[in-house]
């Protein structure tokens, strides 16, 4: 099992490394959002306050950005969740293209266990969004030091536990969506159908999360929905760790738990579906 998994995972990473266009595009997306959207959409509720007191300032920040010092800091934490979900999309598309080129059939013709076939793609497919998530964090932190650009200002000191929770949230979100999209890729045969299915899922999930909207501008019903959204759950862990827990009803561990529950359900359903499709004899 391990030999097969290692060989197939190596193959996935070789493919990844040989497709610089795909890497470039996946880098371009968060970069454009961080540079343009984050700066262009830089809402500042403090501008409307005249001679605000410290209490008024922090009340405004709590209301709009859930304790983040400005929109960009709030937004860049949200971008992490956003990027993780949008960049997992390749994982299933790769399966479909491998099917079209007969490569998937070749692999299925060998005795390599289904778990190795699935696992290798999951590892490679989740590694990419996880790497991108940290790239987004790194860039946003860096931008804070570049004059003329907005950036991510972390206001809390990060404990090892906090860092661990942030990592766990990112990894869980990546694994969950990678499993889901990988399952789509295995079950579907036509690229168009796949992209339609992914978009049908992606857009509502992304836009019912609080990843990009300032919290205070969201209507109450959307705030309620977004609390259960897996992207929000991940982003909550990041924001609470970076900007403090004053406005959050629960500690990060609870949001992580929610994320874990989502992951368990989605991965469970996905594996159930994919097990049939990946039986040794179809």
């Amino acid at each position: 099992m391990l030999t097969e998994l290692v060989a197939l995972t190596r193959r996935e990473f070789l493919k990844l490394a040989r497709n610089p266009q795909a890497i470039f595009t996946s880098l371009l997306f968060p970069l454009v959002y961080l540079l343009l959207f984050g700066n262009g959409f830089n809402l500042n509720p403090l501008a409307e306050l005249q001679n605000p007191t410290q209490a008024q300032i922090s009340a405004a920040l709590d209301f709009y950005f859930r304790g983040a010092p400005n929109y960009y800091s709030y937004f860049s934490a949200g971008m992490v969740g956003f990027v993780v979900v949008t960049s997992t999309l390749f994982i299933g598309a790769n399966v479909i293209f491998d099917k079209l080129f007969g490569i998937f059939k070749r692999t299925r013709g060998t005795p390599a266990p289904s778990a190795a076939v699935f696992g290798s793609r999951l590892i490679a497919g989740a590694a990419q969004p996880i790497a991108l998530a940290f790239l987004v964090l790194g860039l946003a932190l860096l931008f804070a030091h570049i004059p003329g650009l907005n950036g991510l200002h972390v206001t809390q000191s990060i404990t090892p536990l906090g860092a661990g929770e942030v990592l766990a949230a990112i990894v869980l979100l990546a694994l969950m969506f990678a499993t889901l999209f990988l399952t789509f890729g295995i079950l579907l045969d036509v690229p168009q159908t796949y992209f339609a299915a992914v978009n049908l899922l992606n857009l509502p999930v992304l836009l019912t999360s609080d990843a990009l909207y300032p919290w205070g501008t969201m209507p109450g019903w959307l705030q309620t929905i977004s609390q259960y959204n897996p992207i929000s759950l991940c982003v909550n862990v990041l924001r609470e760790t970076f900007f403090g827990s004053a406005v959050y009803p629960y500690p990060p561990a609870i949001y992580l738990g929610g994320l874990l529950a989502w992951a368990a359900v989605l991965i469970g359903i996905a594996l159930l579906l994919v097990r049939r499709a990946l039986r040794p004899l179809e």
């Binding site: 030999t3 070789l14 493919k15 490569i103 070749r106 013709g109 005795p111 266990p113």
Partner: protein
Amino acid sequence: MSGEGAIIAEELVKVYGGKVRAVEGVSFTVRPGEIFGFLGPNGAGKTTTVTMLAAGLRPTSGQAIVDGVEVSRDPEEVKRRIGVIFQEGTADGDLTGRENLEVAAGCYGMSRSDGKERATELIDKMQLTDAADRYAKTYSGGMRRRLELAVGLIHRPRVLFLDEPTLGLDPQGRAGFWEFILSLRKETGMTVFVTTHYLDEADGMCERIAIIDHGRIAATGSPAELKDKLGGDVVTIRTSGPTPDVTPVLQAIRGVSSITKKDDTYRVKCMQGETFVPLAVEAASKAGVGVTGVSVKRPSLDEVFLEFTGREYRGEEGPTETDKAVMMGHIRQNLRGRR
């Protein structure tokens, strides 16, 4: 129960989606070490049969035993024992030839170092040494096919399934491919099951063949046996004149099945042309007719094929696997051209 057969198909049936009856009760036995040809027109059910034997598709009913293992009972063990060359290309274009082989070795559980060693050995054998570290997408059609064969052989299979292995190869490429298969069989005693559209290939290389049409076996036997079933050779005899008629004289010779006469020429169907000719010449001259020309024509497998399938090409259906493979070849070519 499998003692005598390397591949045993028993009443294999495959119905796709409850509608398309691709294979309708196919039975045959391939002996160990044999090269067995599976012939049939487009859409006859060749690929479907191969895929069922190679544990890639569950039969609707019937069973297959490959190298002593019942396919539906232990498909993974079957996959360990067989090599498969699929009709459509399956080489991974973004990987080098060597990497293709190493990944395949890993899929069969071979250690990294064993895989590397075996890859180098096969690269040598397939004469891919110069191209081994180039991306497979830069390979010519023939090189790709050799690479795919190498991938199929990486784990030293006991039974090799080849689905139209020489599709799209030039005559030299085909000859080279077969030369390699023959030497491999000699070396390892491997059983080879091959589907092909090239009848001359099947005639020259296969010990026995089965002809499949509309999902049923139309005939099985050695190429010679099948040709004999057509009623043997056709001998054409031209004589010095239309009279006297020597038909009764020729008819009396052993092994003759039918004679048609047109003017001074007789067309004789008989079992063995070479032994018939001297007897015919002698009998004709005894009857006072001189023989001015003789030709003996062995039926080729083409005629056998036509006889048993009734046609050369089935045009009324959608794209077949062959069409798809050719199309994918074009797409690849285009992709390659653009990079």
